[in-house]
């Protein structure tokens, strides 16, 4: 890395442009957090509805991520390693949830997992309902945020030299063992990082969730409801609390994910 003193005009211009973008991101968050009234914050933290909705949000996003990891990591591996007909179509489908409006995604989900479609009725028969339940929240979160996990895991797998797997095979490892003992330990960081991104994206999801499950209320929905019913003053502390909690959690997770790279 070049020393700061020797920065060229090129570096200065690029750094300045980048800085403007960062400021755009930071100012609203900063303003919201510093303008929080400590008294109101304290009472918000004591508000059972707020805390339970925040925990519901974290939990639902977590299960959505675990669910997607189970199915998405194998998919990511196939996308990284194999050639198969229709591969670019599959890749496009994985990216699709990022592109469609999330309220539209919510409506699509409702049409399939609601009672008006056989799939929804079938799950209903098994005692699993997705409308107005925590399962529905997870489903909506999973649907819209799975590209983060799948794409990151795919890139991670692509970085593992296939020769390592081949050598493992010649040393007596089955395909399963070579995946488990060589590929996965080398790709876990991008997978984890994708998981963290997906979880974060799940927590912030609003559009798809509100269509499928307005209740129980996740934090983004609660913030919206308080804003609608009581105005900015009552929505803001919940938002601040959620942002602070998320920042802390992701700072810790990022740190954990980065830590062993240094070692």
């Amino acid at each position: 890395m070049r020393s700061f003193k020797r920065r060229s005009g090129f570096d200065l211009v690029f750094a300045l442009l980048g800085l403007i973008l960062i400021i755009l991101v930071v100012i609203p968050l900063f303003r919201m957090i510093v303008s929080a009234n400590p008294e109101v914050m304290r009472s918000t933290m004591a508000d059972g509805e707020v805390m339970s909705s925040i925990f519901l949000t974290l939990r639902a996003a977590f299960w959505a991520t675990v669910f997607c990891a189970f199915f998405g990591v194998p998919l990511a591996y196939m996308l990284a390693r194999r050639k198969f007909p229709g591969k670019s179509l599959v890749q496009g489908l994985v990216d699709l949830p990022v592109m469609i409006p999330h309220t539209a995604a919510g409506i699509a989900l409702l049409m399939v997992y609601g009672r008006n479609f056989f799939l929804g009725r079938a799950f209903d028969g098994l005692g699993i309902s997705f409308v107005g339940t925590e399962a529905g929240i997870s489903l909506a979160m999973a649907y819209v945020s799975l590209p983060f996990l799948v794409n990151s895991a795919r890139d991670g797998f692509a970085l593992v030299d296939p020769k390592l797997e081949r050598v493992a095979r010649t040393l007596g490892a089955s395909q399963w063992q070579s995946f488990y003992k060589v590929t996965l330990p080398l790709a876990w960081r991008p997978i984890l990082s994708g998981g963290i991104m997906m979880w974060a994206r799940g927590i912030s999801e609003f559009g798809a969730v509100i269509v499928l499950a307005y209740h129980p209320m996740i934090a983004p929905v609660l913030i919206w409801e308080r804003f609608q019913a009581y105005g900015l003053k009552y929505a803001q502390p919940v938002a601040v609390l959620l942002i602070i909690l998320c920042l802390i959690i992701f700072a810790i997770l990022r740190w954990l994910a980065e830590r062993r790279r240094e070692a």
């Binding site: 030299d161 081949r166 050598v167 493992a168 095979r169 010649t170 040393l171 490892a173 003992k181």
Partner: protein, 360 residues
């Protein structure tokens, strides 16, 4: 004994065509061929990593063709070593033994023994990140050898190394082969590596085996112009077989030759293959050993460390290239300056021929 029978395989842009090869137990076979000719695909096919479209692979009489790579007991070492970056040296070498479920104590003994043999015992606790190329290659060799493979498959194992390390490891490979007695299949594009190491050579081009034999056989009698070129033969002189025992070299005239050209149906067009060492510059006339001798002019001289590359031109337009050592050069009366005239001879035992039609 490892035997390939008629292996055909298409994989991306690579294609293997009817590859048949035999590697005897304990033999060091080198497969020589230019880059991109399908050598690695062949090696990986032997290892079971690709399934041939046609053909069979036998090891000690047993049909291996459909066996999974993990059950074949063949060791692979790649050019870029392919060490597991998440494991330290010890665990890299122990990888296969652990999979086999051996006890910790016996793994330790075996890893220790092979590490001692390859002189890397001091590295065992290190991570692979700060090893030199030569050290990495030793670790890769240890990882394969500790499994006591039936055959060791080496994919350009020396190509990524600098020259002095390469020379050292080359001798090391010879020692490994001699002392462990493991059968080795080694692929390379490097001629001197092939001659240094190979008990036997096979030459490959475009997924096809061109020639196979003892190094001297292959060098002495290349089957076509491609093999001759790959073997570093510098001079191809167009010639015509007139009648049995008589060859007319374009521009140099008719010569008597015992080159056994089967002149099927009268005259035939050939290329005489003349390696640089068979082109001699000599002080005086009169040696029987020459197929042809005459005056030539020095056109170009390039000096390398200890050698001089010389381009010679005959008045008829025929030109020859040769390399002579400094010592040989000092024995000559004339200086090797551009334009000076020297006596030149083609050594009978060095000159062979390939037919003209298999132009490459």
């Amino acid at each position: 004994m490892l035997r390939l029978e008629d292996i055909c395989l298409k994989l991306g842009s690579f294609e293997l065509r009817n590859v048949s090869l035999e590697i005897k137990d304990g033999e060091y076979l080198v497969l020589l061929g230019p880059t991109g000719t399908g050598k690695t695909v062949l090696l990986e096919t032997i290892a079971g990593l690709h399934r041939p479209g046609r053909g069979k692979i036998f090891l000690k009489g047993q049909d291996f063709t459909m066996m999974r790579p993990e059950t074949r007991h063949l060791g692979v070492v790649y050019q870029d070593y392919a060490l597991f970056p998440h494991l330290n040296i010890y665990r890299n070498i122990a990888f296969g033994l652990r999979l086999r479920g051996e006890s910790k104590a016996s793994i330790k003994i075996e890893v220790d023994r092979i590490a001692g043999f390859l002189d890397i015992r001091h590295l065992l606790r290190r991570r692979i990140t700060n090893l030199s190329g030569g050290e990495r290659q030793r670790v890769a060799l240890a990882r394969a050898l500790v499994m006591k493979p039936h055959v060791l498959l080496l994919d350009e194992p020396l190509s990524a190394l600098d020259r002095s390390t390469r020379d050292r490891l080359q001798r090391e490979l010879k020692r490994i082969h001699r002392e462990i007695g493991v059968t080795i299949f080694h692929i390379t594009h490097d001629l001197s590596e092939a001659f240094f190491l190979g008990d036997r050579l096979a030459v490959m081009k475009d997924g096809e085996i061109q020639q196979e034999g003892l190094p001297d056989e292959v060098l002495g009698r290349p089957v076509n112009r491609f093999v001759a070129g790959l073997l570093g033969i510098e001079n191809f002189i167009p010639a015509t077989v007139r009648e049995h025992g008589k060859i007319e070299i374009d521009g140099l005239g008719l010569i008597n030759s015992d080159i056994p050209v089967s002149a099927s149906g009268g005259e035939s067009q050939i290329d005489l293959t003349v390696p640089g060492w068979a082109v001699e510059i000599f002080p005086e006339k009169g040696r029987d050993a020459y197929l042809w001798q005459g005056k030539m002019h020095i056109r170009n001289v390039n000096h390398t460390d200890g050698h001089s590359e010389i381009e010679l031109a005959h008045e008829s337009g025929v030109s020859l290239r040769t390399t002579i050592s400094r010592r040989e050069a000092t024995g000559l009366p004339n200086s090797l300056a551009d334009g000076s005239e020297v006596m030149t001879g083609l050594l009978r035992e060095g000159v062979h021929w390939v037919s003209r039609d298999d132009k490459v």
